[in-house]
């Protein structure tokens, strides 16, 4: 978990940091979000949970206790010092159906994010649809990383692109979320794409 430029001040962000950039890592439960974040993070990944009503409102008062229809949304995150003045935060969040109803959490996550890495598994590509829809809904550029598990079937790239309905410019990369370099390469593919996207979409 050490990085060449990682903070030498333990859990703290260096005093010299001016910019905190944010990327999202999204996909269904078990697809490898926490693993990927942990592979590149310089800190032990942290987790926070938010309790929401099913209507999507944040619950932090007693009205929520009376209303039993609540759901918990967890997000994991890690940090990477990339330059003396720059840290990158990676936030992992599920894209499950129920998560769609908890819009404030997604707004908070998407706000200020440069883009998202969508993780997918060829055994269940459709499980990533919800995450892709949420990311698209928030207007975030994204790349798709296929995590290969031992029994994940291999398909030609064109078939996968078609199944996921990817536009031609959306990167599709293979990734082993457990491997630091592989995880970093997936993030590089995303950031390159985000850079191109904003260069072309800015006035």
């Amino acid at each position: 978990m050490a990085s060449t430029t990682s903070s030498d001040s333990g859990i703290y962000v260096r005093d010299t940091v001016e910019t905190a950039a944010k990327l999202l890592v999204v996909g269904p439960f078990g697809v490898g979000k926490t693993t990927l974040i942990g592979a590149v993070s310089e800190i032990e990944p942290l987790r926070t949970e938010e309790v929401m009503t099913q209507a999507g409102a944040l619950v932090d008062d007693l009205k929520g206790v009376e209303d039993k229809r609540t759901t918990t949304v967890a997000m994991d995150f890690g940090r990477l010092t990339l330059a003396p003045d720059l840290v990158l935060y990676l936030f992992g969040a599920p894209g499950q159906q129920r998560f769609m109803r908890v819009a404030p959490v997604w707004q908070q996550l998407a706000h200020g994010a440069y883009g998202a890495l969508v993780l997918a598994d060829t055994r269940r590509l459709d499980a990533s649809f919800d995450a892709m829809e949420m990311v698209e809904k928030h207007g975030l550029p994204y790349a798709v990383a296929l995590n290969s598990f031992p029994d994940s079937p291999h398909f030609p790239e064109e078939e996968i692109r078609e199944a996921l309905d990817l536009s031609p410019e959306t990167p599709l990369v293979d990734c082993d979320a457990r491997d630091r370099a592989s995880a970093a390469r997936a993030l590089i593919a995303l950031v390159k794409h985000v850079h191109t996207y904003y260069r072309e979409h800015l006035p």
């Binding site: 703290y12 910019t19 905190a20 032990e44 926070t48 008062d61 200020g112 440069y114 390159k192």
Partner: protein
Amino acid sequence: MTPRRVRTDLVRSYVITGGRHQPSRNTHSLELVSLVTATGDRPLGELDPERQKMVRLCQGGYLSVAEVAGHVRLPVSVTTILLADLIDSGHMVVRKPPPAARPTDLDVLEKVLDGLNNIL
């Protein structure tokens, strides 16, 4: 690699925020990745245990709002309310203005790219 689970206790959250779900005036400027630190020039004695814990945590340096929440094991929503109070009372400061809702800074992206290439 699975981070430890954090239980979210609604009643406890209610009590430690004083029953508020509307944060103080500073909250609008706090984002998940806003960096905060303790000023070190306000007494801790007047604070309740949760707020004291946050200030102590942040005496060591800068942390993002999300990291503070993770370390003190509270939801981000509750953490934001408490941090806003602590900024109002002068115990804490935010380092940076919040990032744009839709950041498009190509220079930052190039730096991120260089940094990621360096760890390969």
